[in-house]
Amino acid sequence: MMLQDGSTQLLCLTASSGVPLFTRGASKQLPFSVIGSLNGVHMFGGGQEVVLSSCETEGGGKVVWRVFQDSVMLIAVSGGGHRAPGSSKEEEVCLQRLLENVWNCMVLVLGQDELVNVRNVERLKRDLRSCFSLIDQLLEEKQEGILGTLTHCADSLVPPNPSLLQEAVDGFAQAADSEFGCLIVHGRIATATEKWWRLAPQEVVLLSALIRSLSDSGSASCDYPVFLPQGSPTVAHRLLRFQLLPGADVCVLCGPTPSLHRAETGLVGRFWSPLVETLRDCLAVGERCLPGSVSLRPGVLALLLINRETRRSVSCVRTPPHHPLGDSPSLSKARCWELLKLFYIFSISRYFTQEETPCVSPEERAQRGNSEDFLLGFSHQPQQCYLVTEECKSYGLQTAQHQLFLLLSPSVPTFALRTAATQTLSDITAATGF
């Protein structure tokens, strides 16, 4: 096998000449000859007017190719090994999304021009290093409870006192000559200006990832030039970020003014000092993402709720898990997150059609074609699905407005899953208006 089990390696080459630009992920790099061959076989396909988009290796590994803007080729190679048989389709969905996210993140940091009009490969190589911290974050996905890079929905947190925070974000952004502002708590969007939600969903997700990585470093404030992959791929905006309290960051996207120094000394205290306690309440919501007013049924281990209209999601894993009958061995938090992710991928790749986003890749569209063929086999559009395994029971449910993915304890009777899911959905939406 080329790679160790479970690891993913990312290769980036120039599309025209196949010069390697960088590789990330996996501790052991693929030999140069293998990288060359992977590029070669794709080029060969190109010569035959065939687009090679993915393939599976004998050992259960997977390779996915994609060329962006005729200039950069990204290849993702996953080691496989740990996967259950038949899950290759799910894995392909993940890798395709990964490539798209990586490309967007390269545009975010460097801008499209620099990537498309390559004048000096050595210089591009050096500049690309600026993207590594963000790309590594995409590859590692080590932060539990952050699903946005997979769902392309913004990971959100529902604050106990939304209107006060909304007012402050709106006022703060306006004072910073910006229409785009957002408050991020524990890496999730607690509130944002209306315009922030009008950014492309992938941009919102990517900006959240960038803000998380900046916030994790413990720095107090930032002034980061960013290119919006869909909205402004060639002109940089400034992302100003201020750490109000550890774990709570406010950001604005703005033009040449105000300077970081001015915004920090003149605006941060004025708008946010009166709200310290409100922010602390918000931090106390923690990784549960939902305020205390929402009580979840016993037996619920984890949930992911997506608002399909606003492209936002909340997710949480219950700790400690409930065992009403006391007979099931408890699942670790990490395993719950993993199962929730797997169930999401399972549901969207087989049953629930995905939202049409403006930036769907041809590969993804082709793939969607396949799943649509599969769906056409049904006389109807599936609205609910469930899966019972030894570890847990899972239930997926979609309405015009929402998608809910629920993990429940194995002790919950299967016939009660549907009721549990519909009630959970109505409980949350009624209490929070999410």
């Binding site: 002034d223 980061y224 030039p225």
Partner: protein, 266 residues
């Protein structure tokens, strides 16, 4: 304040450079080791690690020992890969990134550092905001450098002991910050990666010569981060001392830093 009278000792100074006070003449060096500093340092520590303060927070002392906080902006200058981000993290007691990543914009880090003035025995919290910006980003985006220079109080010039060119480039860098347009700023030189003596590219003699030519304090950093304050105290004390000294010189003999002096109670 002291240190102004020692003209004979400091005779070699060039005219446009602020005088450098002899180490320990303005602030008590190694104060973090003294018993009477405990109650102040405990406010910037949490479980033996440095406390991370958000912008809306600051160390809070009990009402009867109200301590003034003085704010300073410090820019970290130096070639790409020299260790600017790592130095900021080290000084703030944050995790030092284990892999080198280019900083693609400005990142600022806040360090609170309690200081005791030698002459008056007065205690102050120095709030040192370190401004770090990747060299590539500075080149690519014109607005970043002016933003770093805006109302800046000090510059740390970094070179790496493992990279000769970063040392040779110091004079250029310093010259840029000595132009009259910049105004008066404290200048310190910091040599990073001092622990990697196997790959050392800059000799002690080079450093001594440099120090004589420029009359600037040169400090060294590198190696494992100890959990105590010992490895950052010399640099933070030196920086605080020079900043305070500059303020006193600017404000005249009755020197008191009047602007920006705040006592934040949250």
């Amino acid at each position: 304040m002291s240190a102004r009278g020692d003209a004979s000792e400091l005779a070699s100074f060039t005219a446009d450079m602020a005088q450098v006070p002899p180490p320990g003449s303005v602030v008590v060096s190694d104060w973090h080791r003294c018993k009477d500093s405990k109650e102040y340092f405990s406010k910037v520590l949490h479980k033996k690690r440095r406390k991370n303060f958000g912008l809306l927070e600051s160390p809070v002392m009990p009402p009867h020992v109200a301590v003034d906080t003085v704010h300073y902006k410090i820019f970290i200058s130096g070639k790409s890969g020299v260790g600017k981000t790592a130095l900021a993290a080290r000084l703030a007691g944050l995790n030092i990134p284990n892999m080198h990543h280019e900083t693609t914009g400005i990142e600022t880090t806040v360090v609170y550092w309690p200081v005791k003035l030698r002459e008056s025995g007065r205690v102050l919290f120095f709030r040192l905001q370190l401004w770090d910006c990747g060299e590539n980003a500075l080149r690519r985006f014109d607005h970043l450098l002016p933003s770093c220079k805006e109302q800046v109080d000090a510059v740390l010039f970094l070179f790496s002991f493992t990279d000769r060119t970063s040392f040779d480039d110091l004079s250029n860098q310093i010259a840029k910050w000595t132009e009259s347009s910049v105004g008066r700023v404290v200048k310190l030189v910091v040599g990073t990666k001092f622990d990697l003596f196997m790959h050392c590219d800059v000799s002690q003699r080079d450093v001594r010569d440099f120090q004589e030519t420029w009359s600037l304090p040169v400090l060294r950093t590198g190696g494992e981060v100890s959990d105590g304050l010992g490895d950052v105290a010399p640099l933070l004390n030196c920086l605080s001392e020079n900043l305070w000294h500059q303020d006193c010189v600017t404000a005249g003999p009755a020197g008191q830093r009047s602007q920006q002096e705040t006592v934040t109670v949250l």
